[in-house]
Amino acid sequence: MSLASFRERHFVRFWAPIPVLAALGVASAYYFAITGTFWAVTGEFTRWGGHIAAWLGFEPQEWSYFKLIGLQGSPLTRIDGVMIIGMFGGALCTALWANNVQLRWPTHKRRLVQGLVGGIIAGFGARLAMGCNLAAFFTGIPMFSLHAWAFMLATVGGAWIGVKLCMLPFLRIPLRTSTESSGLFDFPEKVAARAKRQAQWGVSVAVLALGFAAWRFESSLTLGFAALFGIVFGALIERGQICFTSAARDLWTTGRTQIAQGILIGMMLACVGTFGAIGLGASAKIFWMGPNAILGGLLFGIGIVLAGGCETGWMYRAMEGQVHFWVVGVGNVLGGTLLAIYWDELGGLLALPFPKVNLLDSLGAGTGLLISFAGLAIAMMLVQLNSRRFLEKRS
C-alpha cells in the first residue's frame, strides 16, 4: 500500500464511531487509573473564567465554587489543563492530516447568537451538575456516581426541548437549492495541493504536541501522561467525529442509533477498568445526587442542541476552523463562570444538602457493577426501540 493510499484510508476517511467510542472508554479508564482523576473538561474551562475574573480585578479564589474545584496553578501545571492542551493539539493534528482545516463561517449571524446562547446554557448546566458529557456522563457513570445517571436522562430530556427550540421558524434559514451544479468540485488538483500542505503542517503540530508532553513529563509523570492522553483523546474524537450532542438529540429528530450505542458500549468498557482501579485503591469521584444533577442535565441538553455541539464537540470543530464553534467555546467558559458566581445560592439549595451516592458503596461492589451494566443494557435496548418510531415515516 502506498503512503498516499494509506493516508487516504486511515487519516482522511473518518473512522467508524463505535470502535472509536470503545477505545475512548478504555482510554478514559486508563487515564483515571494513572492520573487519579477522570477525563473532564468543563471544570478547567470554568477555571479559565476564574483566571480572567482575577485579571479583571475580582478575587475568584475566594468564591466558594473555586474552593470546591480548586484554582491553584495554571493550565500548564494542572492535570485537566495539560490534558486539554493535548486534546487541542491532537485534534488539530489529525484535522490537518485529513485536509479538513479551513475557516468556515456560519450561514447567518443568527447562528452565532444561537451558538453563544447555547454555549452559555450548556456551560452553566454542566457546572451545576459538576460535569458535562464527560464527568457527569461518559466518565461519570463509570465512577458509579448515581448523579451521572440522573444527568444522562435529564440531558436526553433537555435535548427534546432543544430540538423544539431549534425548529422555531426564526432559527430556520431559507435553503439554498439550485438546478445548476455548484462547480465546487471542478478543481481536484487544488484540493490535492492543499492536502499536501496540510499534511506537512500536521507533522509540525504532532512534533509540537509531543514536545509539549515531553516537557510536562519533566515536571511529573502524571502531567506527562495527562498531556499524552489528551493528544489521544483529541485525535480520537476528531477521527471518529464523535458527537455526544447527536447521540441525545437524534433520538428525537431522526432516530439515529450508532453514536448512542457506541457511547453506551464505551461506558461498559470503562466501567470494567474503573472498577478495577477503584478496587486497587483509586478513589472514585462522586457528586451530590440532588436536583442540581437533573436541572443541570436539562439545561445542558437544551444548550448543546441549540449550540450544535457539546464541550468535546466544539473543541475539535474549533480546531477544524469552524468559527461557529469558537463562539460556542466562549459561551461555555462564560456559562461555567456564571455558575461559579451564583454557586453560593444555587449549590446551597440544590446540591450540598443532598447525599453523594456511590453505587459500589450503597449496593455492594458486585451488585453496583451489575446494576450499572444492566442500566446500560436497558439504555441500549431503548435506543434501538426508539429508532423504530422513525422507520417508514418520511419527513
Binding site: A98, S181, T253, T254, R317, R394, S395
Partner: protein, 84 residues
C-alpha cells in the same frame, strides 16, 4: 470516503448547498428537500461539517432513500441521494 459510484452518470436534478450549517439542520434540510422531490430524481448535497458524514447517510437510508455516493473533498462533503 471517496466512493464514486460508477453507475451515476446521471446529472443531479437538484443541488442543495448547506455550507455553513451545523447539525441538526443539515440532516433535516436534506430530508425536507428529498420529501419534495419525485421518484427517480437525484439530489446533490454539499456540507462543510464533517459530522454530516455520519448523519446524512444513516438518516437518508433509514428513511428508505438511496444514498449512492459519499465523498470527502478537503473540508467539503458531497452526497448523492436518489429517490427510489
Amino acid at each position: 470516503m471517496t466512493q464514486p459510484a460508477a453507475s451515476i452518470s446521471k446529472k443531479p436534478d437538484l443541488f442543495l448547498d448547506l455550507r455553513g450549517e451545523h447539525c441538526p439542520y443539515n440532516a433535516i434540510a436534506t430530508l425536507e428537500t428529498l420529501s419534495k422531490m419525485q421518484s427517480g430524481q437525484l439530489l446533490e448535497v454539499v456540507t462543510d461539517c464533517a459530522q454530516s458524514l455520519h448523519g446524512i447517510p444513516e438518516d437518508t437510508r433509514a428513511k428508505g432513500y438511496d444514498c449512492v455516493s459519499v465523498e470527502q473533498h478537503g473540508a467539503l462533503c458531497r452526497f448523492l441521494i436518489r429517490i427510489p
